[in-house]
Amino acid sequence: MLKSILKFASPRLANRARRLPLYILLTGASLVMLFPFAWMFSSSFKPDADIFSFPIQWIPQNLFPQNYLRFWQSVHYGQLLSNTTFLAVMITVLQIVTSTLAGYAFAKIQFPENRIIFLCYLATLMVPFQVVMIPQFVTIRLLGLMDSLWAIVLIQAFNPFGVFLMRQFFLNIPIELSEAARIDGLSEFGIYTRIILPLSKPAIAALAIFTSVAVWNDFLTPLIYLNSSSKWTIQLGLRSLFAEYSADYGGVMAGAVLSILPVLLIFILLQRYFIEGIAMSGIKG
């Protein structure tokens, strides 16, 4: 009995033993990748004096949650959180509504200017942000929206990348579906809402995740437009705390944890969309 089990199991065991170096290599590399996060997390619970002690105390000897309290108060984190959430939600919703509509026109409606307008969209994807950032700044100033969250909304909600992503996805939905619906008397808008959108949930989810994470992490656009600290985003608040009180290690570490945590949660819940989404948009970009 035992012999036959061994006989059955041994090729698998041998196989696994051969792969052991692979696991060691990957685990070692993973530890390097995780090291800064682990150190940040552990440091955020330590008093300043313990943060730089070496060898590193991974589990804080003196638990010091005051860092979080201090960070929360010094940058008015509640305000920053509500500003950043407003931007992420507003921009993501606008981006999805307008990109799916435009993507539908490009993928499913044959009109003479289709190719040329889409080419314009495509061409702008190559243009670096730095080329448009000054004219955008001038436009926003003309609109009287300096130091307003709406400046960021307007600038980021119509990103051509979303239109590109949606068009590519809609093209793969068989045209017969729309035609059958049309024969059944559905209007063009009905086909968009009742046929195309429900079939595009993965692509919409990917775009929603990309957009909201990008807005959450964005630094340059808020840096250009938001001056008063009551309008700041989390990233701006964190960087200003770091610039002004770079010796408040614990407070800054707590801030870093709080600015990464929401993205980590979304990533754990929805990670397959992240990775599939990048593969979907990146490879044939």
């Binding site: 730089f52 289709n114 080329v131 000054i134 004219p135 119509f158 992490n217 990233q235 960087r239 980590l264």
Partner: protein
């Protein structure tokens, strides 16, 4: 064109316009028109307050004598040379390990990928602490293994750019890994089966199947990673602020400073235009190369 076709065209045009308008408006006002204005602005002198003055090619001529601009260009190229090759080799390595027949691949992939979506500001700050010359864990570790005088990382002119490059490599390996994994998964299994019949070992299979079949992916990754590294801004702004001295002043940093600190909108636009030309050059290069590619698949 007959009448019926014309009326159908017009009807479709109207429908398309309804669907397009919300995005097209924003696209025109905040992307399309700014591109034109931005390029046009590079031929003007403008401080953003008084009337702009047309000065022809003066902004571009100024770059030839502007040592700050030349330094920025140099730093940008050096930064690209420091990040791109290492990042690509590492991401290919990780991707090929993670497509081998092993367990926990999803967990490993997530670990490698996560730094790419974690807040750049937070990550840059944590690395800045890790790099701390006297107290940082990196130098404490180096001292503990007998290196008495470890590098001063971001606080020294000689190592600051390398320090930022290491951080950025750590941050972006996972992104290119995902692209490589998609490429590797797309290689038909029959090639490997045939090679196994012929007795090829792991290295031979990698060298003679994986690598050549991935060449379109690699080329694509080379181009976008060059373009991305040319546009790197936030890690540098947060970690070194362009310093020490001008050691990490990349082109994009220079453009930002010229525009929003010194209010030289014209000159900043001209530099942005040069950045655009460089990016365009790489993009054209990529398209040309893609057309010439032998298509292995299909």
């Amino acid at each position: 064109m007959n009448k019926r076709r014309l009326s159908r065209d017009n009807r479709n045009r109207l429908t398309a316009l309804v669907f397009l308008t919300p995005n097209l408006l924003g696209f025109l006002v905040f992307t399309m028109i700014p591109i034109g204005v931005g390029i046009g602005m590079s031929f003007f002198k403008w401080d953003g307050a008084n009337d702009p003055v047309f000065i022809g090619l003066t902004n571009f001529a100024r770059m030839f004598t502007d040592s700050k601009f030349q330094n920025a260009l140099q730093v940008t190229f050096l930064y690209t040379a420091l990040t791109v090759p290492v990042t690509i080799v590492l991401s290919l390595l990780v991707a090929s390990l993670l497509t081998a027949n092993i367990r926990f691949t999803t967990l490993y992939r997530s670990i490698f990928f996560f730094p790419y979506i974690a807040s750049i500001v937070a990550v840059a700050i944590v690395w800045q602490f890790l790099y701390h010359a006297e107290m940082g864990p990196i130098n404490e570790f180096l001292r503990s293994i007998g290196i008495a005088d470890p590098p001063r990382w971001t606080s020294s002119k000689d190592t600051a750019l390398v320090a930022v490059a290491i951080m950025n490599t750590w941050r972006s390996v996972g992104y290119y890994m995902v692209l490589y994994i998609a490429g590797i998964v797309g290689i038909p299994g029959v090639y490997y089966e045939a090679a196994e019949v012929d007795g090829a070992n792991v290295w031979q299979k990698f060298r003679h199947i994986t690598l050549p079949m991935l060449s379109p992916t690699t080329f694509f990754i080379v181009i976008i990673s060059i373009i991305n590294s040319f546009q790197s801004f936030t890690p540098i702004y947060v970690m070194t602020g362009g310093g020490p001295g001008t050691a990490t002043q990349v082109l994009v940093f220079r453009i930002y400073e010229e525009a929003f600190v010194l209010s030289n909108f014209g000159y900043a636009s001209a530099m942005a235009f040069v950045l655009f030309l460089i990016v365009l050059l790489f993009t054209i290069f990529q398209f040309r190369w893609q057309e010439k590619q032998v298509v292995y698949l299909e």
